[in-house]
């Protein structure tokens, strides 16, 4: 098999091809190592690991030859550089973690390697996963492999898992890990025309993932298809005693849930998601989605989530509050960057001023303020109370419906620099994704169409806690109906 056709396979097809010995894991890995080099100008990877990838591919070949294949044997995967990888530079895209080589492996990546997967490298992201455009990375912005036809300006891949999304879309990774605190898997998936799944809170361990906002951080898969997301989720899910919020629940065979049969399922259409200023084309795509699911035998139901408009301000209080606490550990003392000062306090202040970029500083300051004496009740406690009400909205709605269909984001991807001068305008990107983080619910973005200017748009399915099976089943039906076959202008190996 030639390289371009190897790069065009889905994870499920590559798995089956390896099992049939149509090609070796070494060949597949080698094709992907070349692809990683080929897309260098997108800046999707911070640290490629080609030698390690080849060694892992060879190990997989030996197991395949012995008939001891593991579920992901020989599958080349990119890892968001927020996951600690033993002995491999881990940066969180921040200057403050300069030179940090973890001596441990995150639970999710450990499960990937135990399943036989191959590490292609560590992907770029917004610094500490704070951003919606992958423009806040210390290592520079990531470019989306998509461009507006006839327009040469580079487009953002979304964020914060922008490097992972760009790598999968440009065929320089078969799949990738992402993390989603307010939409950081789903929004970049939507912007790059791939599938992104945020599982239920507690489904995938957070152990070894650099913390942003612990009560909102969700590790999850980013893939080319819904089936691939189901396969990868099974590999990375499961109870982990090292994460006290990890749920002790069994891991189902998510792939087996993809029956294509959604007859009789009730699909909620929340009316509050028709926000002011949403482009007509996104509303039209949403209506298509409703019709596709109706045609497959599901029943659309109008529902109300009255607290929707308060989800964003709630999120932008809680997430920075948790971040200001989590990021207090970066003090220049035991690891990472240190800038010397006249006093201990000055050393801390200079280190953190030099080590954190503008958006991280902004969120740490906001978080510090809303947690400070005199303002804690008015902001932080208030937001926690509203969070309860937002979660209640979902509980009530799920008494009437089995899952919900909404757009993933209120716009297609924008050009690099287009919105960077206004933090609040940037925060509005997360309007449809943030509620599922606050409520801890599983949600997936599926590529469903193109915008008028030729960029991908996603639709989102949100489900009940720990019911990823229904979410995936409905998502696959949506994927089949949408027939999204478009490719970005730039893919490794050339468009096959």
């Amino acid at each position: 098999m030639s390289e371009p056709s190897l790069l065009a396979l889905t994870l499920a097809e590559a798995r089956d091809g390896l099992a049939r010995k149509s090609f070796s894991a070494r060949e597949l890995t080698s094709a992907y190592n070349d692809a990683v080099s080929e897309i260098e100008l997108l800046n999707a990877y911070i640290t490629p690991t080609p030698e390690r990838a080849l060694a892992m591919g060879e190990d997989a070949d030996q197991r395949l030859a012995r008939g001891e294949a593991r579920p992901l044997d020989g599958i080349p995967i990119a890892v968001k550089d927020l996951y600690c990888t033993k002995g491999v530079l881990t940066t969180a895209a921040s200057h403050i973690l300069d030179g940090f080589h973890p001596h441990y492996e995150s639970t999710v990546t450990d499960k990937l390697w135990q399943s036989g997967a191959v590490l292609l490298g560590k992907t770029n992201l917004d610094e500490f996963a704070m951003g919606s455009s992958n423009t806040t990375s210390y290592y520079g912005p990531v470019e989306n492999p998509w461009r507006r036809p006839g327009d040469n300006r580079p487009i953002v891949p979304g964020g914060s898992s922008g490097g992972s999304a760009a790598a999968v879309a440009a065929r320089a990774a078969l799949a990738a890990t992402g993390t989603d605190t307010g939409g950081s898997i789903r929004q970049p998936a939507s912007f790059c025309g791939i599938v992104g799944l945020k599982p239920t809170y507690g489904r995938c361990s957070r152990w070894g993932v650099v913390a942003y906002a612990s009560s909102l951080d969700h590790p999850g898969p980013m893939t080319r298809t819904v089936r691939d997301a189901a396969i990868m989720l099974r590999a990375i899910a499961g109870h982990d005693p090292r994460d006290s919020t990890s749920a002790p629940v069994p891991v189902p065979d998510f792939e087996a849930a993809l029956t294509g049969d959604i007859r009789g399922l009730r699909i909620g259409i929340p009316r509050e998601y028709r926000v002011d200023g949403m482009p007509r084309e996104i509303e039209a795509l949403w209506e298509h989605g409703v019709e596709w699911l109706r045609a497959a035998g599901a029943e659309p139901v109008d529902i109300s989530l009255p607290m929707t408009k308060y989800a964003l301000p709630t999120y932008y209080i809680i997430a920075p509050a948790e971040a200001s606490s989590n990021l207090a550990r970066y003090d220049g003392v035991r690891f990472g960057l240190r800038v010397e000062g006249e006093s201990l306090d000055e050393m801390y202040e200079l280190t953190r001023a030099a080590g954190f970029g503008a958006e991280v500083r902004r969120r740490v300051l906001i978080g510090t303020y809303v947690l400070s004496a005199g303002y804690y009740d008015a902001y932080y406690l208030k937001a926690q109370r509203v969070r309860t009400l937002i979660t209640r909205d979902f509980v009530t709605a799920f008494e009437q419906v089995d899952c919900m269909l909404t757009p993933t984001a209120p716009s297609a991807a924008f050009a690099i620099g287009e919105r960077s001068d206004d933090p609040i305008a940037m925060y509005l990107n997360d309007v449809f994704t943030v509620p599922a983080n606050l409520a801890g619910l599983p949600a997936i973005s599926v590529p469903a169409g193109l915008s008028r200017d030729g960029l991908p748009l996603g639709l989102q399915i949100t489900g009940r806690a720990f019911d990823e099976e229904t979410v995936l089943r409905v998502a696959e039906v949506l994927e089949t109906a949408a027939q999204f076959r478009h490719l970005p202008g730039f893919v490794a190996g050339g468009a096959a």
Binding site: P241, Y316, G336, E349, V386, R387, T388, P423
Partner: protein, 95 residues
């Protein structure tokens, strides 16, 4: 809430982040805008509503108090700025 320069300087000191004099005013405007935007939460009646810290099931799981990891001093010291005889060497942080 409108923050002034002095308030931003105070928050920055609490957060241990050096902010230059020139950055204080623009940052005060920016943070004030964000806080004002957040204050739309005041429209919501939350009387009697319990605050939510996490969606995870309440109560932390307990485990046996036994050693589960360790014996990897060399690996841990890999990230140390300086070491001596198996210890981190760091600036004095305890008065």
């Amino acid at each position: 809430m409108a923050l002034d320069k002095a308030a931003v300087a105070h928050i920055a000191a609490l957060a241990r982040i050096k902010i230059s004099e020139a950055e204080l005013n623009p940052l005060a405007d920016e943070l004030s805008d964000i806080l004002t935007w957040m204050e739309q939460l005041n429209e919501v009646d939350t009387s009697g509503v319990t605050p939510m810290a996490s969606v995870a099931a309440t109560g932390l799981p307990m485990r046996e108090d036994i050693v589960t990891d360790g014996g990897c001093r060399e690996e841990i010291l890999v990230n140390a700025p300086r070491t001596a005889r198996g210890f981190f060497v760091v600036p004095k942080v305890v008065e």
